[in-house]
Symmetry: C2
Subunit: 184 residues, 2 copies
């Protein structure tokens, strides 16, 4: 079955973006870029919340996106993508489907379809919704050596705590720590 | 100079207690208890915020506290302690001084006095106040393999982000990861 993998840069205090939505504190050096790209190898589909979708869709298809990281731009542009949004009318980013809300049955169908793994970046609200429904198979967190103090949390308003199993921890030269968890 | 060391059990999402103030999700097995006690060896003073103080003061001096972890109960009971509180009239826990508010000069004087290192557990508001003033020398975080979703954050309302340097990351059998940071 296809796995749903959450892959996120987070701060020490658990935020995926600062209070202005900025992610420029996340370290993206050569070592981490290589590591992230290796992580994409099993993936052929991406899920986004509306805010992350807007940010990504306005960057990766542009000449700027393609020049910053041509390999990743190509992977993302070509992959099938779903944006979850109640209000978005049209998705201009190629290969993107709009889905109005998270439906457990539909997500399970998606996971049972043939294909590679499914990845989520950013999209804190979507991650929290899927986590609540027990639909996330893999949490891969890059803990950046920074405290933001305020910001957009990866997890929000979960009705109960989620116990995970640590698969491994890996230290990078930049001071980022990769923490890999799966549900128990 | 004496270091101020923050030593905390945190959840993956950066909370030191759940929304009810509970910390029973924090793993305290033999391996972690030994590791924590080794960390105490250079320490001879503890700082607390009011809420953490109340919790600790109602446990460690009691027969229950002394039986759960006699070594740690003895260390804590005998050590000099400061509780920061505007309202507390009397500190019944032995060797405890009440200080009304955080004053940078006073904390610097304390750090320059002869003695061992100074440790803080819990006490999120106090940690945030001291972090803002650049007074924390060492962040030692035990990241527990659990997402709380809501709770009491270690860091709150910092006016600006704090960049830290990762000293080391260490994996425990229980799935806890120790992340050790210092200011840059």
């Amino acid at each position: 079955m296809r796995k749903i993998i959450v892959f996120e840069h987070v701060s020490i205090d658990g935020y995926i973006a600062d209070k202005h939505g900025k992610i420029d504190w996340a370290i993206r050096d050569e070592e981490l870029t290589k590591f992230s790209q290796e992580g994409e190898e099993t993936v052929d589909m991406y899920l986004f919340g509306r805010i992350t979708y807007d940010m990504m869709a306005s960057f990766w298809p542009t000449p700027m996106g393609k020049s910053v990281n041509p390999v990743f731009a190509d992977i993302l542009n070509k992959a099938n993508k779903i944006v979850f949004s109640r209000t978005l009318k049209e998705a201009t980013w190629e290969n993107t489907e709009i889905v109005k809300h998270v439906d457990k049955e539909e997500i399970m169908k998606l996971k049972h379809k043939p294909g590679g793994n499914i990845m989520i970046f950013g999209s804190g609200i979507l991650v929290s919704e899927l986590a609540k429904l027990g639909l996330i198979d893999d949490y891969q967190l890059l803990v950046n050596p920074v405290v933001l103090g305020e910001g957009k949390p990866l997890f929000k308003n979960l009705p109960e705590m989620i116990s995970l199993k640590l698969i491994r921890a890996k230290e990078f030269k930049s001071g980022v720590t990769f923490l890999h968890y799966q549900p128990k």
